[in-house]
């Protein structure tokens, strides 16, 4: 096993784990790749790359077709380990499914991931989302209702750090992107407990979100819906989200 001393923290760093994870990320592509390409793009010898690939093949995560390698769908085990480790996730999953049917709109549950909004549950109106779904690393947090809910869930010091370090720019003519304006908007969300963002991310789309709280009232995620801005039932959507969020919290901590 390759072990190196981390210069900054003086903790032993498992370099070969880091490189193996790089290999996996490199394989997240629709293009099949050869061993030589993996070696070149991850900056290691072909023999070293081959050992990582063999290990991943052994785990059932990679398959080989002649000279070409690709990930197998089984690797979603890893992402699923993350999702299922969230105590509220399964309940959110079911709630999102119900909400999207009830509101005839796309719904989702979201967490903050390096300044962006990551989807952890989603249901697209009129689609079977258990089979496939978009789990993009998502929009920048400042421009969606879910993102602002998550920013409002941070401490004031943390949200200030975000606003001073994030790249803020308008995505539509309506996007708030001045730190001062965003700070005011986030402060208002802290007071009101919900966020409504009209056409700031995309013209014609309104996003509405509420926080999902753990039992100590800490914001663990956002629950949101995207509707056409022309719809006149935003209040009903907000009420449905609020009720669903409360149900998630109580169900997740029931057992």
């Amino acid at each position: 096993m390759a072990v190196a001393e981390d210069r900054d923290t003086h903790v032993e760093h498992v370099a070969s784990l880091e490189r193996g994870l790089e290999v996996i990320k490199h394989l997240c592509s629709d293009r099949r790749v050869t061993l030589a390409e993996i070696a070149r793009d991850t900056d290691m010898s072909r023999a070293a790359a081959r050992r990582f690939i063999l290990s991943l093949q052994h785990l059932g995560y990679v398959e080989c077709d002649g000279r070409y390698y690709q990930l197998r769908r089984q690797i979603i085990d890893l992402g699923h380990a993350y999702l299922s480790s969230l105590p509220w996730w399964r309940e959110a999953e079911r709630a999102v499914e119900r909400l999207s049917r009830q509101l005839a709109a796309d719904c989702g549950a979201y967490v903050l991931d390096r300044g962006r909004v990551a989807t952890v549950a989603s249901s697209t109106h009129e689609r079977f989302s258990v089979f496939e779904r978009e789990v993009g690393q998502g929009e920048p947090a400042y421009a969606s209702a879910a993102g602002r809910i998550l920013l409002a869930g941070l401490s004031r010091a943390e949200s200030a750090v975000y606003l001073s370090s994030a790249t803020l720019h308008p995505l539509t003519p309506f996007t708030l992107y001045e730190p001062v304006q965003l700070e005011t908007a986030i402060e208002r969300i802290r007071a009101e407990g919900h966020a409504v963002v009209v056409q700031e991310l995309q013209i014609g789309i309104t996003s509405i979100a509420v926080p999902i709280l753990d039992r100590s009232a800490v914001v663990v995620a956002a629950l949101g819906v995207q509707i056409a801005s022309a719809r006149d039932d935003a209040t009903a959507c907000l009420d449905a989200l609020t009720a669903a969020s409360a149900a998630i919290t109580s169900a997740a901590h029931h057992d």
Binding site: V14, S29, A47, H58, L71, Q74, H80, V130
Partner: protein, 269 residues
């Protein structure tokens, strides 16, 4: 990469043409991924001791791996307890979640049909129809060949009974009340009351057996494909000549359950 790690890796370089052996595997990646998997269904944060025990490694080793995962942004700790971070979704989940599920489902169906010489179908519920999303048959099978997209009446098929068994009671009652429960043979169940009872039995026993209700002489055995939370996401069935009866059920049930598990592992939730 640090110079030290480059040197370590270079020192381990071996002849790429050599035969693969267990020693060639990189233990670090296997252990690292086992640590990530240890959080599955934990529904809580884990201590280093929990993780060391789950993965079967000494605590100091667990500590080194967790520190590495923390430095890389996959794990967060509050000093005592560890939890995974959403960056784990970058390790293949995001990539596959958006890709269609059915090509992989089709492979599972194909394997099953080849192994058992019986046609096999995966279906989801749409209204009161079971709609095929995967289908495979061997050349000498009983019954008509069918294609992906085939719709079977849910009340008269094993696939349908499984899918209906996943509904909550109100939803089921509503659908049975408003559906056209046509008779296809004289064995087809057409009464909501009879069907409710039959579907209740399916829910309790975890499989559905339908013989001669859709076509005379044709039998089907169906099992649920649950998502990882146990909700019925799809149904999987195998068909055979009704005359072959119970003996077939005994030999097909095990492989069918295994195939359903393979399908579950391919679902995004």
């Amino acid at each position: 990469m640090t110079e030290a790690s480059a040197a370590t890796i270079a020192a381990h370089d071996i002849d790429p043409a050599s035969v693969a052996t267990r020693q060639e595997h990189v233990q670090a990646i296997e252990r690292g991924l086992a640590i990530i998997r240890a959080f599955a269904d934990a529904s809580q944060e884990l201590t280093m001791a929990d993780i060391a025990k789950a993965v079967g490694i000494p605590r100091p080793t667990a500590r080194r791996f967790l520190t590495t995962l923390e430095t890389l942004g996959y794990v967060q700790s509050n000093g005592r307890r560890y939890r995974l971070l959403p960056q784990v979704l970058d390790l293949g989940y995001r990539h596959f979640a958006a890709k269609p599920w059915w090509p992989d489902a089709q492979r599972v169906a194909r394997d099953f049909a080849d192994r058992t010489a019986c046609p096999c179908a995966v279906a989801v519920l749409d209204g009161m129809s079971a709609v095929y999303v995967a289908y495979a048959a061997s050349h000498d099978t009983a019954g008509p060949p069918r294609a992906i997209g085939t719709r079977l009446p849910a009340h008269a098929s094993a696939l349908g009974h499984i899918l209906l068994s996943g509904l909550d009671r109100d939803d089921l009652a509503h659908r049975l009340r408003t559906a056209d429960l046509a008779a296809f043979t004289d064995k087809t169940m057409t009464q909501p009351k009879t069907l409710t009872a039959a579907i209740g039995r399916v829910r309790a026993q975890g499989f559905a057996f339908v013989s001669g209700e859709l076509e005379i002489g044709l039998a089907s055995l169906g099992v649920p494909v649950p998502n990882r939370g146990g909700d019925v996401a799809a149904a999987l069935s195998v068909s055979f000549a009704a005359a072959d009866g119970d003996a077939r059920i005994d030999t097909l049930f095990g492989p069918l359950r295994q195939a359903a598990q393979s399908l579950t592992n391919l679902l995004v939730c």
